[in-house]
């Protein structure tokens, strides 16, 4: 049972979150080529190691958190708000 350190709410139990998948697959605009969107939607890497992924604090502050989690050990390296400016610049 993971414990995620929500930037708003502090350390909270995994039960309060809903997993929302790979955080490297933002499709903000539909003007991309369909093949590119298809890649983002259906061909997602499944790395053994650190993975950036969205966790929605759905039973808490309702913020999307970008969690950096090790897929083998479940160690959580970082948890940041998805909407913070530096995260938007990256994608």
């Amino acid at each position: 049972m993971h414990q995620i350190n929500c930037p708003w709410c502090g350390p909270r139990d995994e039960n309060e979150f809903s997993y929302q998948g790979d955080a490297n697959c933002r499709i903000a605009t539909q003007s991309k080529a369909p093949e590119e969107i298809e890649d983002l939607l259906y061909f997602r890497p499944n790395p053994k190691g650190l993975h950036k992924e969205y966790w929605h604090h759905v039973s808490g502050c309702r913020q999307y958190i970008i969690v950096e989690r090790h897929t083998l050990t479940h160690e959580i390296r970082s948890a940041r708000l998805a909407r913070s400016p530096q995260n938007q610049e990256q994608s």
């Binding site: 993971h2 003007s31 369909p34 913020q63 938007q88």
Partner: protein, 975 residues
Amino acid sequence: MASYRIQNGGAIDRARPVKFRFDGKSYTGFDGDTLASALMANGVSLLGRSFKYHRPRGLVTLGSAEPNALAEIGEGARREANVQMTMVELHDGLIAQSQNRFPSLRFDLMSVNQLFSKFLVAGFYYKSFMWPSAFWEPVYEKIIRRAAGLGRAAEGPDSDHYEHRHIHCDVLVIGAGLAGISAAQTAAAAGSRVLMLEEHAWLGGVSAYDDDPVDFTAQLDGRDDLQILRRTTALGIYDHNVVLALERSGDHLGEIADGHPRQRLWIIRPKQIVVAAGALERPITFDNNDKPGVMLSSAARGLANRFAVAAGKDVVILAADDTAYEVAADLHAKGIKISAIADMRDQIPSFARAQIPENIRVIEAAQPIKALGRTCVRGLRLKHAGSVENVKCDAILLAGGYNPNVHLLSHAGSAPVWKEEIHAFVPADTSGPIWAAGACRGIFDASACRVDGEVAGANAAMAAGFPFGVKSLGPVLESRATLDRLHVSGKGKAFVDFQNDVTEFDVRLAAQEGYQSVEHLKRYTTLGMATDQGKTSSVNGLSVLADALGKDISDVGTTRFRPPYTPTAIGAFAGHARGRDFQPIRKTAFHHCHEDLGAVFVEVGQWLRPRYYPQAGEDIFSAIKREAKAVRTSVGVCDVSTLGKIELFGPDAAKFLNRLYINNWMKLAVGKARYGVMLREDGCLLDDGTTSRLAEDHFFMTCTTANAARVLAHMDYASQILFPEMDVGFCSATEQWCGLALAGPNSRKVLGGLFQDLDVSDEAFPFMGVRETEFDGMPARIFRISFSGELAYEINTHWGCAAALWEKLQAAGQSFGLTPYGSEALGVLRIEKGHVAGSEIDGRTTAKDVGLGGMMAKKDCIGKAMAMRPGMVDEKRPALIGLKPVNRADRLRGGAHFVSPHDVGVSKPVQSLGWVSSVADSPNLGHWIGLGFIEGGQSRIGERAMCVYPLKDEAVEVEICNPCFFDPDGERLRG
């Protein structure tokens, strides 16, 4: 039967006798006994029958590693199978039954399995029950289930209740033996909050089996910095070091007080963990080593010292380890006759020998050949100094050395490593956040365990943020001499795994047949796969495998241990989340109004919605017809409070809606509502609903009951991740506004009677208009929207005003015969109009499929590019149509498939042309109608098709038609 109770001593209360029943017979034990010790005291040593061969079995251990002494405890719905008698505290009225025997424990017919044992060797399931496959269910499975099984399941739903508790602590100590107690005391002294778990009702671990044990209760109980949970087993260590533990809080009580749980599941989130789980003694493998009377030497010692029970009148200790001599000394002191210590080693350390009186016979370099006796042990045949001797005895105590209990430590992921000095596996990494102390990491000496516990406790406290003077004393390893070869091959059955009846021969056979990896061996022979998870068998099995393969045991490795550590009732995991309490029930503000009318409810998600309102003498069909007809002829009222409601604010609210919905929202006027459709990122339909503009920067969205939570999460995603630059905020208002739909030709008159200040004329309040007003001094919103296709309004007001609104509406509607209608009639009305709902928006369909492709505006929106892919706009995709039976008396079925007429009645698989999604027996048309999806969609209107429903063996000829059956031009709703 002879009593095996020792006259003096023990931690039993002789002033408090306890009566209990085993296999229908009454016995008496004492307070402080376990079921196992009480039966042994009464001379009952045959406690069960084995799994495969139905061989007689007796006690092996005193704790949760017990493989043999399993019983059914309790009766009826409370009966629990496969309970270890060693873990059952005796209490008045306890009822236990032996298991896996027919008709009785002494005389078991299934023990003929032993005669067929040549066919029941390793992998016998795979070999014997392979062919033909059609035999599996009717023949083989029945044979296997009868022959091989343990206890019977309970006869009804579990009538006990279980609770969950969550707890945080700085340091969790698992095991209150000497190492655990030292660790807990040290960590508490450092100032950390400590929680300690102990499986038994008493503290002290193996030291509680000493003749005069230290009473730790006084120094440990009632402290603020140290909480102890007794009768609590740590089941597993999970991700992020969460520990699940089961407290058997009620099992030792004859009766559980009302409102108290039988068991409590603790969900523990510690900062640091000290595992002090002790060690388990290992058996020695030789022929007939499973007879009742063969047990571990530690069990015999504990029986004598703690429970004042003699394991036998005349015992032989089969030794491969120095600890045999401590046991001998203790038993001798209790007056138990020791015929011999048969030591398998060539050389016996003098310090070991010095512990026992000189008159006890010690046989050096003894080789056990077999245990003698028909049902129970009558002697031990052994070879020594070149000759064979039968030593008479009624118990054989096995001292095979100790295996550190590495189960919990390996749950966390680290594989144990072989330690040659002690001939045992030890945890590889014990340096935090999961620390290990004492015997579970191979430190067996009592004083060394205390020091090791202090070091681990101080380390754990420090890592949790409570620095303390850490003693930098390294682990002390006592010199111990243990034989590493604990198996002796004979001609008979030498058991490695008692519970799953795996013999040494099975392990060798598996190795010979190529199952040489430990994981393969485990699955092929079932070694270590029983409810005891191989606590006593695993290392011995590995040792035989290593021998058979000519390898070192360290190269063979271990299988992975998995939680739970001990068998656990499913009820404990479910806790209170069972039956009606599985999830919350949501009721609308009008719930009691519906109840007063005798409504029948249906669950939609967690909501209870009125399904229909039967009147006297009405069945469901006539009620639905009456309600649906009332809406078309006069006026009906329906509770729509469960619809998801979301308020949106901000200068970019319209822009945001434009990205969510496929249609355009920029030009929607204030005071107007619009129907919208939204897509998932993959282009399939997500949801639909009506959204209104209440101000330039204020919108009010509705979504379907079932999808409300999903839509809100989708909007969070869109606003936080996709379009963070948009200035828009929103929140759920589902539980703030209650809502009623007022539908039917007379709805305007009823509305006008209710809101007398409001101009309800068509000119002042046109179709898709929205008006804000007041009801009872509270804000109210009225939307002229329609799902039924009639002139209709939705009235929303404050959730708390529901009762008043319902009452006043009844008064205003009385003269028009205002009829409440439920979700069934609502379904009929929308199918008559061809409006899509959840059965059509089923996660596979597109806007184009349901005939709403024309709504797609020339702008960017979520899912648009994917919805435009060639496969998603293919004209051949099944698209929405209506259908009616050619023979108007025929019934339609939801879920039926369209097939070509010459495929009807064909037994081979046929091509489906589409499916029927919704059906209704339309009271306004007088026959069944349906909505469905068929290849070619609207181009097939006017054609006929066959509709098959194989579940009921039905085939109905239908006519494909426009999905809107009623008032296709919408004159009624604009009227």
